[in-house]
């Protein structure tokens, strides 16, 4: 089906089902229970899951297949956001032209940066991409924001003001929308103690993510994808086999740049502003973490990694010492204080610490990422030995 083989079709339908049912799956605890704070089924977070899923899927086409580690992909995401907000300012809050432009601009931007950075490989390539992204950040933060020429609105970030022309707005909504369907409108379904939220913005982003996943899947199974994997293994052999690795790399770079642009455009579509911090190196590092954590070179890994990190960032960071004290309040006071003291550094503001530890554990013990771990557990349970359920999975870390 859809030009995919049986296993791939099943994987794809699985992703579609999980994504569409996310408002249920991510909301397992009743609203009033103590565990409700672990629910992730609210619009803002769910949007982030799928948007960063797109970002990581695209990054994986470059890093997972070719092994070229870009440390500057956030630049393309940022550029996508700026492009989208400009469309809101000039045309209207309809997200279609905004997203189209984010993809195009990010594609062109990555074409230029990729052309230059791909003159080198290995660590030099990574450093070049990092340098370019930091330059873009600096430009967005200050250079391109001055009274005579204000493209990015500097520190404040680009946003839509009432004085903006919005030539095509007419009587359209005052919020981002898809042909009138407002992105922030949410329907709530209450079943017993549970409240499930269905948000237009989430479903629009989810549709994009499903499309992005499908295209990535096709790329993985195409001759083009095979050449990208060949580059990762032995670029010399590829060249002596009559293939020019340069345009293959550039195409992979641009495709992944366009994915980042789409993610940036969607970020703006759900919340119409764009700031320079989206281009910062920490943001570029985050997508690297997502991909490696989930499983570089696997199909599902990046999506899983993105959801995992965003969940930590938003849920663990909210657990403060008051919350901890209520959890352990049934214990004697001294033990309660002791437990809180031990756990506290790892939650709340310390969530980075937990994430860092988990990242280390995964890289050391599960070089294939969460997907690899899941596969091992699955094999243990079923007693089967399906080491290669995903034939593209390559559990070796990239060099």
């Amino acid at each position: 089906m859809f030009g995919l083989d049986k296993v791939d079709t099943r994987t794809f339908l699985f992703v579609v089902a999980i994504t569409l049912l996310a408002p249920f799956i991510l909301n397992p605890f009743p609203s009033e229970s103590a565990l409700a704070q672990f629910n992730a089924g609210y619009p803002d977070l769910m949007q982030r899951f799928v948007i960063f899923g797109i970002f990581a899927i695209g990054f994986n086409i470059l890093f997972g297949l070719t092994g070229y580690l870009s440390f500057g992909h956030a630049a393309f995401l940022g550029v996508g956001s700026y492009a989208a907000v400009w469309m809101f300012k000039l045309l209207s809050f309809n997200i279609v032209p905004a997203i189209a432009l984010s993809i195009i601009v990010a594609g062109l931007f990555s074409l230029v940066i990729g052309y230059i950075c791909l003159r080198r490989s290995g660590i030099y390539f990574s450093i070049l991409t990092l340098a370019f992204a930091q330059m873009s950040f600096a430009m967005a933060y200050s250079v391109l924001s001055n009274p005579s020429f204000n493209l990015t609105n500097g520190e404040t970030g680009l946003q839509v003001y009432a004085s903006d022309p919005q030539y095509l707005k007419g009587n359209g909504p005052d919020n981002t929308h898809l042909f009138g369907l407002e992105m922030n409108s949410t329907a709530t379904l209450e079943i017993g103690a549970w409240a499930f939220q269905f948000n237009i913005g989430f479903y629009v982003c989810a549709a994009f993510m499903i499309a992005a996943f499908y295209i990535a899947m096709r790329i993985f199974r195409s001759p083009f994808g095979l050449m990208l994997r060949a580059i990762k293994t032995n670029q010399t052999r590829l060249n002596y086999t009559g293939l020019n690795s340069r345009p293959y790399m550039l195409a992979a770079f641009v495709i992944s740049g366009m994915y980042a642009g789409l993610a940036g455009g969607l970020l703006a579509a759900t919340d119409p502003l764009a700031g320079a911090e989206r281009m910062q190196w920490t943001a570029s590092g985050e997508v690297v973490l997502m991909t490696i954590l989930g499983g570089a070179g696997t199909l599902l890994g990046p999506v899983l990694g993105a959801a995992f990190i965003k969940y930590f960032e938003n849920i663990f960071s909210k657990i403060n010492d008051t919350v901890l004290h209520t959890w352990f309040s049934f214990m004697p006071e001294s033990i309660e204080n002791f437990l809180v003291a031990i756990i506290y550094p790892f939650v709340g503001k310390g969530w980075h610490l937990t994430l860092g530890l988990m990242f280390m554990l995964i890289v050391i013990f599960l070089p294939g990422g969460l997907v690899d771990g899941g596969m091992r557990i699955w094999n243990r349970i079923t007693g089967k030995n399906r080491t290669q359920a995903d034939p593209v999975a390559d559990p070796k870390p990239a060099e």
Partner: protein, 252 residues
């Protein structure tokens, strides 16, 4: 004029004259062997032919056109394939995928942007790969990961990749090194068959004289970067210069 003409090639590595005034003409449809002691410059000569090294002076023409300065992939697309001394294969990919890449390169050229095409729809490529694997006796290993194979098998795989491209000129750098006797004999049979059926011109570097004398129509002896003798196999054996080169080489 031969299909490959090498004229006055010189190549220095610092103080070492790796190639000195090399002149060589390879006739179309023949097997031309290059022999010589270790360090004679045999692999260096092949490196010049495939665009890995630029010579300091001299010219190389293939089918009448100069190939100096071309990129490796361009030279390959002209019809020159090389089997390396240490196997160069896609070690994390399967045997099947390795050969498939060579088939795509032959059919689609140096670059093809087809990210949405499906490999499983490429019936003709699949058939060609199957056929190639049968030819080199590797059909049973089609799903093995290349890195997991013996050195001899890796070499056979590399040969299959080169042959899958139907090259006009095949450069073989010690194709039987690391192979068991039986595999060596199979390789000789395979190369003989290729030469007879498809008429592919070959340049073969080999230390195993059994291989050389079974295949070569002509032999060039290289010593310290310079060809010292070029003759038909029957006249090479007794040539005193050749024996001296090998003994001299062994002393160094």
């Amino acid at each position: 004029m031969g299909i490959l003409e090498i004229k006055d090639i010189n190549k220095r590595f610092g103080g070492l004259q790796a190639l000195g005034d090399v002149n060589l003409s390879v006739e179309e449809g023949t097997v031309h062997a290059i022999i010589g002691p270790n360090g004679a410059g045999k692999s260096t000569l092949l490196n010049v032919l495939v665009g890995k090294l630029e010579p300091d002076t001299g010219s190389v023409t293939f089918e009448g056109r100069s190939i100096l300065g071309l990129k490796p992939h361009q030279i390959n697309q002209l019809g020159i394939s090389r089997v390396f001394q240490t196997p160069e294969i896609f070690s994390t990919l399967s045997v099947f995928e390795n050969v498939m890449i060579a088939c795509f390169a032959k059919r689609d050229g140096a670059f093809q942007l087809n990210p949405l095409a499906s490999i499983s729809n490429e019936k003709d490529i699949h058939e060609k790969v199957e056929q190639m694997l049968l030819d080199v006796n590797m059909a049973d290993k089609r799903n093995d990961i290349a890195a997991s194979m013996s050195r001899g098998d890796k070499r056979r795989l590399e040969m299959a990749m080169c042959l899958a491209q139907d090259p006009k000129l095949l450069l073989l750098d010690e194709p039987t090194a690391g192979m068991a006797r039986a595999d060596t004999n199979n390789t000789i049979e395979l190369l003989k068959e290729i030469e007879e059926k498809r008429g592919i011109t070959m340049v073969i570097i080999e230390h195993d004289m059994h291989v050389v004398f079974s295949l070569a129509n002509k032999i060039t002896v290289l010593a310290q970067g310079t060809p010292i003798v070029e003759d038909v196999p029957s006249k090479i054996k007794g040539n005193p210069k050749v024996q001296e080169a090998y003994l001299g080489g062994a002393h160094e």
